[in-house]
């Protein structure tokens, strides 16, 4: 039995046993998404605080839906935190939330380490739903689930991560997760966003400056969203980015014929990804969204500790 986790703050501190268990145990929750009645009663009476200190719709809805499908209530807090605006401190905000006695807090924040800061101070399990430019652990789990479903394994796969790796929490979590399982990871993007220091993150990590080379024989291509709002200082002209780093059908032919393409969403069609690729047979974008629900349901179930579900159908309830 892997060591039990109390929070999900990052992928870096998990071991392969723990990750394997998280992925394996998400399987039954994947099945629930295919059922006509998708609601369980297993977390009935429990409540989840979903505190988003950064604008987001997709991840927030995914967590709220996951909580609802487990029968839990959710309290949602959407706070604008421009670093210049001085309002209530994060500590005061989470103490307020804590006073409402949630069984778990899901937090997204624009500052790296904010979920760690909260977890150190509260007795409640904390799930990191993305912190600054640090990690986005549930995204890496749902990506790994998607890759495993399609490829049957993570070990030894050639994975190309494309885009602004330096400022991407999705990339960091994916790098940590995939490297732990011995995937060969190639990073490609504008050089200022793929600095040498990234190679220190994990073993089996190489930087490949030219996209054509980076895609050679790839099994998996993870395309990162161009997040201009997160870039400090002068950004690269978009036309330059498209010219050199857009994943096009023509470029994707360099990868293995059965290669799959992942994108964390929301996509900027025509910028980091050509529409034909986004909608093409190799794209897993929609599976990723569905798997996100499964991973998040399982995590809430695991961290809050609901009734056992050996067979999801058995506890099926429409309340």
């Amino acid at each position: 039995m892997p060591e039990r986790i109390r929070h999900l703050l990052d992928i870096e501190s998990l071991n392969t046993e723990q990750i394997t268990a998280l992925l394996d145990q998400s399987k039954p929750f994947q099945e629930i998404q295919r059922m006509p009645l998708k609601k369980l009663a297993t977390l009935r009476g429990k409540s989840v605080a979903i505190a988003f200190f950064e604008p987001s719709t997709r991840t927030r809805i995914s967590f709220a839906t996951a909580a609802a499908r487990l029968g839990a209530d959710s309290m949602q807090l959407q706070a604008e935190t421009s670093s210049l605006k001085k309002g209530e401190s994060l500590l005061d905000t989470v103490y307020t939330l804590e006073a409402m006695k949630p069984d778990c807090i899901v937090i997204r924040h624009s500052a790296s380490g904010a979920p760690h800061f909260v977890a150190e101070r509260l007795p409640v399990p904390v799930i990191n739903a993305g912190d600054g430019t640090h990690e986005h652990p549930t995204q890496a789990l749902l990506d790994a689930l998607t890759i495993r479903d399609r490829k049957g394994r993570l070990e030894g796969l050639h994975v190309t991560i494309l885009g602004d790796v330096l400022h991407s929490r999705v990339a960091r979590s994916n790098i940590h997760l995939l490297a732990k399982f011995g995937a060969h990871i190639r990073l490609c993007g504008p050089p200022m966003w793929v600095p040498r220091e990234l190679e220190c993150l994990a073993p089996n990590l190489t930087r490949v400056p030219r996209l054509e080379q980076a895609l050679e024989d790839a099994d998996v291509v993870i395309v990162l969203r161009v997040q201009l709002e997160r870039i400090h200082g002068p950004a690269l002209p978009l036309e330059e980015y498209i010219l050199q780093y857009q994943l096009t059908e023509a470029r994707l032919r360099r990868a293995r014929p059965d290669a799959i393409v992942l994108h964390p969403g929301p996509m900027n069609r025509g910028i980091e990804i050509e529409p034909a690729v986004a909608d093409g047979p190799q794209s897993c974008v929609r599976e990723q969204v569905t798997n996100g629900l499964a991973v998040r349901m399982h995590l809430l179930y695991l961290l809050i500790g609901g009734a056992p579900i050996d067979s999801p159908g058995a506890v099926h309830a429409a309340d």
Binding site: E12, L91, G113, F117, L166, R172, E197, C200, G233
Partner: protein
Amino acid sequence: MLLIKNGRVVDPASGTDALLDVLLVEDRIERVGPALTAPQADLFDATGLVVAPGFIDLHCHLREPGGESSETIETGTRAAARGGFTAVCPMPNTNPVNDNAAVTRFLLDRAASVASVRVWPIGAVSKNSSGETLAEIAAMQQAGIVAISDDGKPVATARLLRQAMEYCFPLGLPVIDHCEDSSLAAGAVMREGARSVRLGLRGMPAATESICVARDIQIAELTGGRLHIAHLSTRASLELVRAAKRAGLAVTCEVTPHHFTLTDEDVLYDARYKMNPPLGSRADREALLAGLADGTVDAIATDHAPHEPALKEVEFDRAPFGIIGFETALALALEQLLHPGRLSLLRLVELFTTGPARVLGRSRRLAPGEPADLTMFSTELEWTFRAEQSASKSRNTPFDGRRFRGGPVATIVAGRIVWQR
């Protein structure tokens, strides 16, 4: 009258390191010698202790006026006394900024009534430290400042620095610069490197500091003025200062205990590890240790930067820079420099006394006629630093709970014991 018996007198000015007695009369040193007697004097048994000239801290923030919830002249100087410092130089970035004689006089008046140790204020280079026009420097000097700096930020332009150094030359005031290229530092909260990339925190490269050090040294060469580099933290900066000294320029520098003790690898999501300049690489730390030993570094300065808990108990990105440092400075120097044998006791004392004094154009001696400012410390005393017991109003330090071998034991200012362990 106070007779300090049987101490190990360490006086860098004369190269003395011997078991001697020191007799203080009123606020002056009366005699230094073996087996002194003075029947009317109070006795202080300094057996096993080092007796040194009073320590000077060239760089601190006392937050008064304007930031009294984080520190005051009273609490800050009490913490300084507990750290063995007999004189501290508060930076002018208060509210209002110490950019005119009225503020300087306010500081010295407050100090005269509440301070435990001597307060030697540093004035601003520019009005409101805004980097545009020179502050009222001569007027502040007449009121009592000992140097000028726009600390918290660099002297804004090469032109302003040039004016300041030319203007200050006949006044004999050093210009202290917080060296930072603002464009590289923008938005950064720690040193750029493997650790910043791992934590997803924005980093500034080491060159952020050394680019500005190079600019400053060239202005020092141009003007012949006296330049002091504050809290120097990188190997490249140190090499620039070393070369400038070799070329005979009037360039000096200070290093903080946290920069010679910690590196960026120690940084956690905990704002007690957030300071500016940020903690550097292992190679930087090694270079600083070497520079402290070989004389390139002139002084150890604390950059004591108190912030009340509400300011530091926030997300790393949002927290202000800085940590408190008075009470751990000597103990860290003993731990990092003396005990591993990197330098001698004489050299260590120099870094706290004659070194910083020379930066200010002063002397520091344990000799008859000198002010009776003395620092007594043990190199062996085992103790644990507890931030909650600090005299400072703030608790922001990564050294809370650290066990030390050696530290301050008594601090004497103007012949009076202002603190004793």
